[in-house]
């Protein structure tokens, strides 16, 4: 191409692209150097290879920061000649979202991952001591694989990776790009998708990617252990990192869940969407692996399982990345990315990690410290192992179902996921949860290695009974008992686990402080499960529509939950215990908030409770996306979500076909046929939504900008309107000016009325008032869905407690490392 384009800023992109290539090269250098430092320089104190490896890795970190600076420059300066800036930002985007636009695209996600992995690697350089060489070989290799994802360079006609510095004109063919001045026509970017303009967008992706990035550390230790034949030694130093990865990834996933609940229209905190499932595969497997690592550390048993699970967790991290980014979930997920043309690159990446794992396990198989001796049935380790295996099975089930599109691609089948997918997941996963929480409970009564059997059964049994009584109480009051029996079982197990671990925690304060971390984490997890079971199981749609007309007999026969209800402006509607009124709007582009007033009225007509929710609809370029608003109580939430509305005007929605009829002639078309009433002062006019009273006539009415002479007459009719319990007033004017009769109608938009004072009839001493009322379909309305989520706070609180538990465990395991 020989066109000299004008107005482009190519420099930041070129520097950025240079840094990308540099980061890739530095990572590769670091990987190779560390590899030879491990093999050739083994045992050597002062290794040149090691120095080179370190230098390479630090250059890698620096160039990743360089990439970040360049990318931020072109987003911040609105260089829309770059696809990334054009696709995800616009001039009107506030600065904090400009920051989050950084990771809006897939390339940005990889960049974030790269950055965190580089930070973790740098930390390891300084902290991992004798483990540095082999561990950093693995981390640097992972860095190479990741950097290749954003390389955007063509090798042998095959594009490797997708660069965030791609120019708009390179990203898509369009005739406009043959114009050297094309930049003059691209004044603004596409802007961020409204549903992403949320503060969770700022914090959720960095946390999630730190979680994904930290999965590499335990993996690197496991690989190093096998490679260096330090089969036993790798476990102890890897435990704190595994705890860290579980803590961060768990936090990141639940943040996403909270985001979905608070501001997306999924109608809940977990939808079993494939993308959500994929993000917890690595978490479940690493939590399982963590437990088996502790088993191995304490007893020397289960070496293979511990290593296997840790290796698997990182392979699954890449698998989940593949599911989300390859476009393979297209038919089953609402929010997977589309393919960037990296399908096979992602597949190869999974196989790189898989191949290393398999090859090491197979080649070292004969030397692995696998014990032939059976573990004692009454030892804690045995049951920790059992619990971990059940976690693995739970993940296995999630994986099998979520991967249905993958099976279809491999075997050329045409399976579809189960049609009632939520029930399917809920029932099967709850069964696993029952076993897992039960084990987290009774294993606490077992001693490491050996236990007094009869005492154990007495204690376990009595706690189980107390838990059963409590569960019965909770299940009865919340209504969980009406659900599938497995949910009650899972509930029982969770309550039991809270009780037992609560006791362990109490003991911990008396001195056995070592166990506090795990007890807190277990309590957190069990509370999380209790919250999830109650709120998801007994969430109640309160916006059941009882008024909707049935369409045909067949349709009405079916039991169909009519979960959406139409609420007209200022027309109170009864929803469950609440009287709900749509009382108004507030608009600040691109957001349109709907004020939905909730009132609880007791038998005597007194308002016992009142609040206003403001769910919003974001409008951009003619598309709308809704965000709910939620009233939080300690034990329950009321969630309100707009599914549809006619209150957003075409101009607000940005469509140019604004046919809104503003002129007076057409205005009457917006109303039903007028009805005239002959009334005198004090009379009442009844109409559909209420009544109108003529309270008086004002003989000296004035109309703006119309001067009146002495011979002219202007009379105002004071009207008081009561519509659905709300009062309004209006004064339409009747005027005789220069011998001509005019009348000035008044509109009461909130009541959907237009009133005219059309005639004075002196012989009857009456006047004529013409009432125009809007048909139902022209009145402003919202179609909304309201759901009550009981005990959802247990879910959030449980998560926080679990994270605290993880953190306490990290501190404990770290201090153990120092004392040994």
């Amino acid at each position: 191409m020989d066109i000299q384009f004008k107005g482009e800023h190519l420099l930041p992109g070129q520097i950025g692209q240079f840094f990308i290539v540099l980061s890739f090269g530095a990572a590769l250098l670091s990987f190779i150097s560390y590899y030879f430092a491990t093999t050739d320089d083994a045992g050597k104190e002062n290794s040149l290879w090691q120095k080179l490896g370190r230098a390479g890795f630090l250059v890698n970190l620096a160039s990743i920061i360089g990439i970040g600076v360049c990318l931020f420059t072109l987003i911040y300066k609105h260089y829309f000649e770059y696809h990334y800036a054009w696709a995800y930002t616009s001039r009107s985007l506030p600065i904090y979202y400009i920051l989050s636009a950084f990771w809006n695209g897939q390339e940005g996600g990889f960049l974030l991952w790269l950055f965190w992995q580089a930070v973790l690697g740098t930390f390891l350089i300084f902290r991992s001591k004798s483990w540095e060489r082999p561990v950093m070989t693995v981390v640097a290799m992972s860095q190479v694989v990741l950097a290749a994802m954003i390389l955007g360079v063509e090798i042998f006609g095959q594009r490797i990776g997708s660069s965030p510095f791609l120019l708009l004109r390179e990203s898509m063919p369009a005739p406009i790009f043959s114009n050297p001045n094309y930049m003059e026509f691209i004044k603004d970017g596409q802007g961020m998708v409204p549903s992403l303009q949320n503060y969770w967008m700022i914090i959720h992706p960095p946390t999630l990617f730190l979680g994904f990035a930290s999965m590499i550390v335990p993996f690197a230790y496991a690989v190093a252990g096998l490679w260096q034949k330090k089969y036993k030694e790798w476990v102890a130093p890897a435990i704190p990192y595994a705890l860290f990865a579980c803590m961060i990834l768990g936090t990141g996933v639940v943040m996403g869940s909270f985001w979905a609940y608070e501001s997306l229209n999924f109608g809940g905190f977990w939808a079993w969407d494939p993308v959500e499932n994929a993000s917890i595969f690595p978490w479940i497997v690493l939590v399982a692996g963590l437990h088996v690592m502790i088993v191995f550390k304490n007893t020397g048993h289960s070496y293979f399982t511990a290593t296997f699970l840790v290796l698997l967790s990182n392979v699954l991290t890449w698998y989940s990345s593949f599911l989300n980014r390859s476009g393979i979930l297209g038919d089953t997920s609402v929010h997977s990315f589309t393919d960037l043309g990296m399908f096979w690159q992602l597949v190869i990446s999974i196989f790189i990690f898989l191949a290393i794992s398999v090859w090491l396990l197979v080649s070292r198989w004969k030397e692995l410290p696998i014990t032939k001796k059976d573990e004692d049935t009454y030892s804690r380790e045995f049951w920790m192992f059992v619990g971990a295996v059940f976690m693995g099975l739970s993940c296995f089930h999630l994986l099998v179902v979520t991967s249905v599109p993958v099976w279809n691609a491999i075997f050329h089948t045409k399976m579809a996921p189960p049609s009632d997918i939520k029930t399917h997941y809920n029932v099967i996963q709850s069964s696993f949860v029952f076993v897992i929480v039960l084990v987290t409970g009774f294993s606490q009564f077992l001693k490491y290695k050996k236990t007094d059997v009869s005492k154990f059964f007495v204690i376990t049994g009595s706690y189980l009974l107390i838990a059963a009584a409590l569960t019965a109480l909770i299940a009865y009051t919340t209504g969980v008992y009406k659900l599938n029996f497995v949910f009650v079982l899972a509930m029982w197990g969770s309550v039991y686990s809270v009780l037992v671990n609560g006791k362990v925690l109490a003991d911990a304060f008396k001195g056995k402080f070592k166990l506090a971390g795990s007890a807190v984490a277990h309590i957190g997890f069990s509370l999380l499960m209790i919250g999830a079971l109650i709120s998801a199981g007994t969430s109640k749609v309160i916006s059941i529509n009882n008024t909707g007309e049935a369409y045909n007999a067949e349709f009405a026969k079916e039991e169909n939950p009519r979960e959406n209800v139409t609420v007209y402006r200022n027309q109170p509607t009864k929803l469950g215990d609440y009287t709900v009124t749509y009382i108004g709007d507030s608009i600040s582009s691109p957001n349109h908030w709907f004020k939905i007033n909730y009132k609880k009225i007791d038998a005597s007509g007194k308002v016992t409770e009142e609040f206003t929710l403001k769910p919003k609809v974001q409008v951009s370029k003619g598309t709308m996306s809704a965000s709910p608003d939620t009233r939080h109580y300690l034990f329950s939430d009321i969630y309100t979500h707009i599914t549809l509305t006619n209150a957003i005007t075409p101009t607000e929605a940005g469509t140019e076909s604004a046919e809104a009829a503003h002129d007076a002639d057409n205005d009457d078309k917006n109303y039903d046929a007028p009805v005239s009433h002959e009334v005198k002062t004090g009379d009442t006019i009844r109409y559909r939504d209420g009544y109108i009273v003529l309270t008086g006539l004002n003989k000296e009415a004035k109309v703006e900008n119309i001067p009146l002479s002495d011979s002219d007459v202007a009379i105002g009719a004071h009207l008081e309107i009561v519509s659905n319990g709300n009062k309004y007033s209006a004064t339409p004017v009747y005027m005789i000016r220069n011998g001509n009769v005019y009348d000035f109608a008044r509109k009461v938009d909130d009541a959907g009325l237009k009133l005219r004072f059309s005639k004075v009839i002196p012989e009857h001493k009456t006047v004529e008032i013409v009432v125009y009322q809007q048909p139902e379909s022209k009145k402003k309305f919202v179609v909304m869905k309201a759901i009550q989520f009981p005990f959802i706070n247990f879910f959030w609180a449980g998560t926080i407690i679990m994270v605290i538990g993880f953190f306490m465990s990290i501190l404990r395991r770290k201090s153990e490392l120092k004392t040994v």
Partner: protein, 136 residues
């Protein structure tokens, strides 16, 4: 037999049970023609017929939405969703309908839409760029 082996067998049994239950639970992708032959729910991949009427009137019933869809074999059928019209429905390029036939109508329990421009801005938005340049 050793305890470890018994446990191993139990785990394998559960794994097989999981696979079987998933397999039994999976539904199939099919066409409207297939849907007429079965009474169970299935998934149909198709697209919206934009030439025919989309019916939704919130003032009558906010939980009734009907439209015409064509499956990948080109067969057309009236589809009814017991809910409000999804946002941006007209802009969808592809639909995955889950549901079953009732009489001659397909009653969908869920609809998954693919709007190409919602999460990644691609082709559709390119047109806007062109339109802008033409108007200046």
């Amino acid at each position: 037999m050793k305890k470890g082996s018994i446990f191993g067998l139990v785990v394998i049994a559960i794994a097989i049970a999981v696979i079987i239950s998933v397999y039994a639970n999976t539904s199939t992708y099919g066409s409207f023609g297939d849907a007429e032959k079965t009474s169970s729910e299935l998934h149909i991949v198709g697209h919206l017929n934009k030439a025919k009427e989309l019916y939704f009137d919130a003032t009558k019933d906010a939980n009734y939405f009907s439209f015409y869809a064509k499956d990948n074999n080109g067969e057309e059928c009236k589809v009814i969703l017991k809910g409000p019209k999804p946002e941006d429905f007209e802009r969808s390029e592809q639909l995955v309908l889950t549901g079953k036939m009732v009489g001659s109508e397909f009653h969908a329990s869920s609809i998954l839409m693919k709007c190409p421009s919602k999460y990644t801005q691609d082709k559709l938005e390119t047109k806007e760029v062109k339109a802008k340049s033409a108007s200046i």
